[in-house]
């Protein structure tokens, strides 16, 4: 087996290395998963949040419940023994009738805020839930964002005045600054586990060099910003915030940085369809390890950008893409493929929850799983397919709460999640998507 390690993320490593990396889960502590979740008297203090987005809705014709239940669309969770860690939350709506929900409910998935339209050169949504939690619960790494390769919008799906970023980003550090997801597991590995060559002195030097460069960039941007008109300045404020964020990361190295469990993953992750399942399995594994070792407490995952025609042929065989299957117009072949896509993604969620369970952090984490729509064919945004996952007997895991007949804003659930994570907000979301403050019934 491989012994000494090198940190270079560009080292060509074999598929065997990937499998070794994946296989490690067997060697990690399983104590948590051996405890029957339902016997625990109360919730562990919840410290972590993961938001998981899947695009284009589920097979829920007319926004009725359809097959969104443990026996059908969510059967992978049941098969993985995760039913008692999963709650179906029904009757939630999000978005605004006059904005295409693909865009609105992706960028606003975790904020329920209205996106700004009119100039596609700027992207403005609202600060998202994950980032509020990241503020409240600082860790060496602020948060992790993971997703699929960027979707450059096909003219068929494009709208004048809509920023393409809206289909591609769910995490917003501020109203006007998104956090772009990492699509390549090798890049995430380097971010989490690479420590640099050489010893401690060399590492200290490397950080000193980077700090000198970053400090310079901050001063440079400050001077440029002072010269520019007011409208052009915020973009440099974000740049300077990013410079400081990367610097803080340097300062934090050594405190909570995870050690490398194995070599870097390898594989072709450049194409959106290539290694679709493996991509996310690797990402899940790394997120779980990073949470276990305390380097991060907040993450978001996108199982695909909205509107995009991810087709996943390696698992589903050649055929139509996700967006086309969502707009199935009742075609049974397309509906079948959509259901298989939903199953595949529910299986991914089960894998993520399994990884969290394996490293013993599932009970202290809340995972929110959902989409931009319910019925993607009709673009319906009522009775969204939403799951809340985690552990603890204070929440109604293993049940379905709410009802399509009693609609309430998604923001109500998000407000409760913020409360549970110790980051309470007075209200959440905009206009018709705003919270009412009424409890959603997730608490026992």
């Amino acid at each position: 087996m491989t012994r000494a390690s090198s940190s270079s993320s560009s080292l060509p490593l074999s598929r065997r290395t990937v499998l070794q990396f994946m296989g490690l889960q067997l060697a990690l502590p399983l104590m948590s998963s051996l405890l029957p979740t339902s016997t625990r008297a109360q919730a562990a203090p919840r410290q972590r949040f993961i938001g998981v987005f899947f695009p284009n809705g589920a097979h829920m014709p007319g926004a009725v419940d359809g097959n969104w239940n443990f026996a059908e669309a969510l059967s992978p969770l049941d098969q993985a023994g995760l039913t008692n860690n999963t709650m179906i939350v029904r009757g939630l709506h999000n978005g605004f009738g006059d904005v295409d929900p693909h865009w609105q409910n992706t960028a606003g998935f975790l904020s329920c805020r209205r996106v700004t339209l009119g100039d596609a050169a700027v992207a403005r949504a609202g600060k998202s839930l994950d980032q509020i939690v990241a503020d409240a619960r600082p860790t060496p790494l602020r948060s992790l964002e993971v997703g699929a390769p960027y979707y450059h919008v096909h003219p068929l799906n494009d709208h004048p005045g809509y920023s393409h970023d809206y289909l591609n980003r769910i995490s917003w550090q501020s109203d006007d600054a998104f956090r772009s997801p990492i699509a390549d597991p090798r890049q995430l590995f380097a971010k989490l586990f690479a420590t640099g060559d050489g010893g401690a002195a060399q590492l200290r030097y490397l950080h000193a060099r980077r700090r000198s460069v970053l400090d310079h960039l901050h001063r440079d941007a400050t001077r440029l910003q002072a010269r520019l008109p007011a409208e052009a300045r915020p973009v440099l404020s974000t740049y300077m915030d990013s410079v400081r964020d990367v610097e803080r990361r340097l300062d934090g190295v050594g405190a909570g940085t995870c050690t490398s469990p194995e070599g870097a993953p390898a594989g072709d992750f450049g194409d959106r369809d290539a290694n679709y399942t493996l991509r996310y399995q690797l990402m899940h594994r790394m997120i779980a390890l990073a949470m276990q070792c305390g380097s991060v407490g907040v993450a978001t995952l996108m199982y695909g950008p909205s509107s995009s025609d991810l087709s996943i042929p390696e698992t589903l065989g050649a055929g139509n893409g996700h967006h086309t299957c969502a707009h199935n117009r009742g075609d049974t072949g397309l509906i079948d493929r959509l259901r298989r896509m939903n199953l595949l993604q529910a299986g991914l969620l089960a894998h993520l929850l399994g990884e969290l369970r394996n490293v013993g952090v599932l009970d202290s984490t809340l995972v929110l799983y959902g989409s931009d729509m319910s019925d993607g064919d009709l673009h319906l945004t009522t009775n969204l397919p939403v799951l809340l996952c985690g552990g603890g007997s204070d929440l109604r895991f293993g049940q379905a709460v709410g009802s399509a007949d009693a609609p309430r804003p998604f923001a109500d659930l998000q407000l409760e999640i913020l409360q549970l994570l110790g980051a309470p907000q007075p209200s959440w979301g905009d206009g018709q998507a705003a919270s009412t403050g009424a409890p959603t019934g997730i608490l026992v």
């Binding site: 012994r3 090198s6 520019l228």
Partner: protein, 731 residues
């Protein structure tokens, strides 16, 4: 209520900006745009500040760009390509966050740089700074390094088996006992041995320790740098014995140690370490208790990256020269004194930190940091030349030169342009136009790739349609590129993009199209041959357009091709569906027999309501005209069931029943010519065309003079650049 107003305003804005006044004559009232430039034309009587006139009298107040536009990842790649003097592969930027396309281009978004994006950028420029320092042209003027010559032959990769020889020190390999004593070579056996210890042997891919002393293969660092030894050891004689201990040892101690029992598994290792010239890495096989059955196989290699030679080099005699050279080019203007001081500060801070930490190669570390600070500067990652105040007034000539270079070569000003700006000679439309023409001619296919490739979606980077590795699909993208390049280079007018009279194919694509390829005809660098034909090569008859827009059902193919043609060639994107229209569409599910002929189904879509007709009257005729081509782009007369592919739908009263009719109308249509002008103008403006600016499109397209022939595409581009300058530069 406000929401409704918002969407109405949005739709109106989209139509006013992007639709020619006459183009929607057949539309319903709901989608008919208000008169173009309503209320503004009366104001242009010159009594409010004398705005500079645009060509031939269309007077518009300039409006600078209000956002700070990001340098696109491709522009950055071209910057570095120009600084290095050699192409930088696209893969180097694979982990950079892509930029959203605005108005069809990725060069005009403010796209914020988040921490993750900055980290990826930092990693890339750390590698690029080393490449810059290894480039002689970048380091020109620095004193020759006084470093000693290599201790042995310098290579990037060393392989013990491949470089095995009977000569000590050759290719930096030495053949020793574990005490450092030299072995002797037996040419007849092709292996090294110890005269005093008969059990000890060393050959190409194996080692055997002696009775008394262990055996050692040594690699010596030829120069200062970093070494990455890797490989494996294995038991090559599992017949017995007590196993061996394998050790890899660097200057600071063991890098790897393992016991291989008799018949045990192969042991792999990899490591990385800084090395000084003459440092050694030893690969040792040790006995356990005795050396019986100790034959040990191996696969050993060392990757070596030298630290750039820098003996005798300092900030004063080299660093400032290099930083000034790179930063002046990358910033697209001279540095100001404070910037020089600041970059020197990075150099000094890093040099001090490197010296204190005992880092090998203090000068390249310090210079590298200053170059990294240069490349990641907001002056490079953003384009302040588009924003008022972004460039100092003293640098107006450089601002102009940069805008020229960004427009026509998607990169930095070249040497001649920079020198002209430096000398203050970039004055007057004629001089600027001459430079534009020169840049187009001198910059290869950069304008074709970055402007044409994004407009018509044949560029692979950021493509909105699926990028296929299928050689036929690759050839189709190349065909689109080659036709655009030829129209530009041969000074043809934009109508030749629609009906060029020629195309470019390789042999498989010629077969696909049914074209005859003369085997004696010249093949260009892309592997394509020019073929004269009236049937192919136009925007609507190119395989790339026909295949990439034909996805999903036949309905979707018609809509897809129609929308693409409307948006890209007529600048007439359809408005987004409002809730009422979407509800109407939703209610129609199941109302149309999917087995009915395509033409019949499309007719039902058109006749459902005025709301449906408004868009279907525009999209469908264009898409249906192209039903003459199947999803693979092959010509056909009938569908599989034998029915005709032709239909009689009209596009705004014009008959476009087939590709020939469609091409014949579009190529001379004012809307098409205006659209080409608009794409070229937007490329230079870095923002959308304002309603009051639309009058310039007629002038750029040569439509203001009915007698004049259509201008060449190249001339329109140059004219559009000059116009974009006037429309964005404050007087």
């Amino acid at each position: 209520m406000r929401a409704l107003e918002h969407i109405t305003a949005l739709r109106t804005l989209a139509l006013v900006l992007l639709v020619g006044a006459s183009s929607l004559a057949g539309c319903t009232n709901e989608l008919t745009p208000p008169p173009i430039g309503d209320g503004d034309d009366d104001d242009d009587d010159g009594d409010d500040g004398n705005p500079p006139p645009t060509p031939r009298g269309c007077q518009v107040e300039p409006q600078p760009v209000t956002i700070l536009p990001r340098t696109s990842n491709e522009e950055f790649r071209q910057f570095v390509t120009d600084l290095l003097g050699r192409p930088v592969p696209v893969e180097r930027f694979a982990q950079w966050t892509p930029l959203a396309q605005v108005n069809g281009f990725d060069t005009m978004t403010e796209s914020r740089i988040d921490p993750g994006a900055l980290e990826a950028q930092l990693a890339t420029v750390e590698a690029l700074s080393a490449e810059l320092m290894a480039t002689p042209a970048v380091m020109e003027g620095c004193p020759t390094p006084t470093d000693p010559p290599p201790a042995c032959a310098e290579h990037g990769a060393y392989d013990a088996a491949a470089q095995f020889s009977g000569e000590q020190g050759r290719d930096c390999w030495s053949y020793l006992d574990a005490n450092g004593g030299a072995l002797a070579y037996a040419p007849a056996d092709g292996r090294w041995f110890s005269p005093g210890d008969p059990g000890m042997f060393l050959w190409g891919n194996g080692l055997h320790p002696g009775l008394r002393v262990d055996v050692m293969l040594r690699w010596t660092a030829p120069r200062d740098g970093s070494a990455a030894p890797s490989g494996s050891f294995f038991d090559a004689d599992a017949g017995g014995g007590d196993g061996v201990i394998v050790v890899v040892r660097g200057p600071a101690g063991d890098l790897f140690r393992a016991v291989i029992a008799n018949g045990g598994a192969r042991e792999q290792f990899q490591a990385a370490l800084p090395v000084r010239r003459g440092d050694v890495v030893d690969f040792i096989v040790q006995r356990v208790a005795n050396n019986s059955w100790d034959t040990t196989g191996h696969a050993l290699s060392v990757a070596f990256t030298p630290t750039p030679p820098s003996g005798g080099r300092t900030w004063d005699n080299c660093g400032q020269l290099v930083v000034e050279r790179v930063a002046t080019r990358a910033f697209r203007r001279p540095l100001v004194a404070l910037e020089r001081d600041e970059l020197r500060r990075v150099f000094d801070e890093t040099a001090a930190a490197a010296a204190a930490a005992g880092i090998i190669g203090v000068f390249p570390e310090a210079l590298g940091a200053a170059l990294q600070a240069t490349l990641l500067s907001p002056h490079v990652l953003y384009k302040p030349e588009f924003v008022p105040g972004g460039f100092d007034g003293a640098h107006d000539q450089h601002r102009l030169a940069s805008r020229l270079a960004l427009y026509f070569r998607g990169s930095l000003p070249d040497d001649e342009l920079r020198a002209l700006a430096e000398a203050g000679g970039l004055v007057g439309d004629d001089v600027i136009a001459a430079q534009a023409a020169r840049l187009l001619a001198a910059s290869g296919d950069r304008f074709v790739e970055h402007f044409g490739g994004q407009w018509l979606d044949f560029r692979v980077v950021g493509s909105t349609t699926a990028v296929s590795a299928d050689p036929l699909r690759v050839a189709m993208r190349k065909e689109a590129h080659a036709v655009f390049a030829a129209v530009l280079a041969e000074d043809l007018s934009a109508d030749r993009l629609i009906a060029p009279g020629f195309t470019f194919v390789d042999a498989p694509l010629a077969t696909h199209y049914g074209l005859t390829l003369d085997p004696a005809a010249a093949v260009d660098a892309a592997g394509l041959t020019r073929v004269a034909t009236a049937d192919r090569g136009g925007l609507f008859t190119q395989g790339h357009f026909l295949t990439s827009t034909a996805t999903g059902s036949d309905f979707k193919r018609v809509i897809g091709r129609g929308l693409y043609a409307l948006g890209r060639t007529l600048c007439q994107p359809m408005p987004m569906l409002d809730p009422a229209t979407r509800e109407e569409i939703n209610n129609s599910v199941g109302q149309i027999d999917p087995a009915a002929p395509l033409g019949e189904r499309m007719q039902i879509h058109r006749s459902s309501s005025d709301r449906c007709l408004a868009c279907h009257s525009q999209m469908d005729p264009l898409g249906l005209a192209l039903e003459r081509f199947d999803p693979a782009g092959l010509a056909r007369d009938t569908y599989e069931d034998g029915s005709s592919v032709e239909n009689s739908f009209l596009f705004n009263d014009v008959s476009v029943r087939n590709p020939a009719e469609l091409q014949a109308w579009v190529k001379d249509a004012g809307q098409y010519r205006r659209c080409v002008a608009e794409k070229l103008l937007v490329w230079g403006l870095h923002r959308a065309v304002r309603p009051e600016e639309r009058c310039v499109l007629d002038q750029l397209a040569g439509l203001d003079d009915p007698q004049a022939p259509a201008p060449p595409l190249r001339a329109t581009g140059i004219d559009a650049f000059l116009t974009a300058l006037r429309l964005t530069e404050a007087p």
